[in-house]
Amino acid sequence: MNRQPSNPTPENFTPPDEEQSAALEAELQTLSLRQPSDMLDARITASLSPATASLNPPVVAPRHWHLALTVAAAVALLALAGVSYYIQSTGTSTPPIVDNPPRDNRVADPKNPQQPVVVQATHHFDPKPIYLHWSREMDAGTLESEDSGPAHAIRRQDVLHRVWVDAERGVMIQLIEPRERLMVSKQNVF
C-alpha cells in the first residue's frame, strides 16, 4: 500500500552534500539542550537501588561470609548471656514452687520510690492448677489537680502466669497475662 507522506519533499529538494551536512551537524551539536531535572536522577536511582535488593536478591555471598557469621553468632551468644544474667539478677524468672507459701502483702514505700517491691506471690502445687503471680508497685509521683488537689500515684505492674498441668496425660497449658494499672490516692494537704 502506497502511503502519501504527511510532509512531502519539496520540489526543489536537493540532498545536502557531505560538507554541508558536516557543517550543519557541527552547528546542531552546539545547541543547548533542555536538561532533565535532578528529580529524574533521584527517581532512577531510587528505582534501581531497592530493586537490587528486592527484585534481584543477592545470589553471591559476601566475601569472608564465614567470618561475619562467626562474629554474629558470638554477638548473639553474648547478648543471650547478658539477658539471662539480667533476668536472674532482677528476679524476673519464675519463682520456685513451694508448698503452702506464706502470703506477703507489702506496699511500696513512698519514701523510696525507685525500688520495686514484690508484693505478692502465690503458688499452688499439682494436681490443682499451678498459679504463679508476681507483681510490683512503683511510685509514680504526685499528680496535681486544681479541682481535687494533689494525689499520690502508684503504678502497679502484674504478671499473671497460670499453669495447668495434667500429669496423667502429660499436658501442660500456660497463660501469661501482663497488666499495668495506675492507682491514685488523694493526699491531704492540711
Binding site: 545536502p16 546542531l28 527517581r43 537501588s49 527484585l55
Partner: protein
C-alpha cells in the same frame, strides 16, 4: 550481550550472570541527555518525558531480561515506546501543536544568561528542529544529540537502516532549506 561494540562495560559476578541494574544504570548515566531529549521530542512536555524515561528504566529493571541486540539501542527503544504511551495516556494526537509544546532546547530558559548566549541563528535553528516532522526529528535527536549510530537508531525505531538514514538526510535537508530561506535577503 555478546558481540556489541558499543555495549556497556558490565562487571560480571563470579557466577557469570550480568547484574541488570548495573548496565541499566551505566547506560542511563552515559545517555541521560539523549534519552530525555528523545522522550521530549515525542511527548513535547518535560514532565511526561521524565515519566517516560523513568517508566522505561523501571520496566527494563523489572523484566530482568537480557536485551536483544545492542543494549543502548534496546534502552532507547524502550524510552521511545514509553514516550508514545505517555502520549496515549494524555489522549492527544501524536503531533502536538507547537504553540502548546515545549521545545527541545534551553533557549526558552528565563535565565538572561541563556538568552544572551543564544544567537539569532541558533534560535532559528532550534525552531527549525522543533518544526520537523516527528520521524525526522527523532532521527536527528538520536543521531546528533544522543550520538547513536544508524544501526542503533534502526534498532531503536524497529525499522530498516536505509529508512532511518533517509529520514535523517531529509531532516538535514529541510533544516538547511529552512536556514537558507531565513538568510535570504529580502527583495525590494
Amino acid at each position: 550481550m555478546s558481540g556489541h561494540s558499543n555495549g556497556p562495560r558490565c562487571e560480571i559476578d563470579p557466577f557469570g550472570r550480568l547484574p541488570v541494574h548495573a548496565w541499566l544504570d551505566e547506560i542511563y548515566r552515559e545517555h541521560r541527555q539523549g534519552l530525555f531529549s528523545l522522550a521530549l521530542s515525542v511527548t513535547r512536555q518535560p514532565m511526561s518525558a521524565e515519566d517516560a524515561v523513568h517508566d522505561a528504566i523501571v520496566r527494563l529493571a523489572k523484566s530482568n531480561a537480557t536485551p536483544e541486540g545492542n543494549a543502548v539501542a534496546y534502552v532507547f527503544r524502550s524510552v521511545r515506546n514509553a514516550a508514545i504511551d505517555q502520549l496515549r495516556k494524555r489522549g492527544r494526537s501524536r503531533e502536538t501543536p507547537l504553540e502548546y509544546a515545549t521545545n527541545l532546547f534551553a533557549s526558552t530558559s528565563p535565565a538572561p544568561e541563556a538568552q544572551m548566549m543564544t544567537t539569532e541563528s541558533n534560535a532559528q535553528l532550534m525552531r527549525a528542529v522543533d518544526a520537523l516532522p516527528e520521524a525526522q526529528r527523532q532521527a536527528i535527536v538520536m543521531k546528533i544529540f544522543a550520538g547513536l549510530t544508524f544501526q542503533q537508531i534502526a534498532q531503536a525505531c524497529d525499522e530498516p537502516i536505509s529508512t532511518v538514514a533517509s529520514r535523517y538526510q531529509r531532516g538535514l535537508a529541510k533544516l538547511k532549506h529552512t536556514m537558507e530561506g531565513q538568510h535570504e535577503p529580502a527583495t525590494v
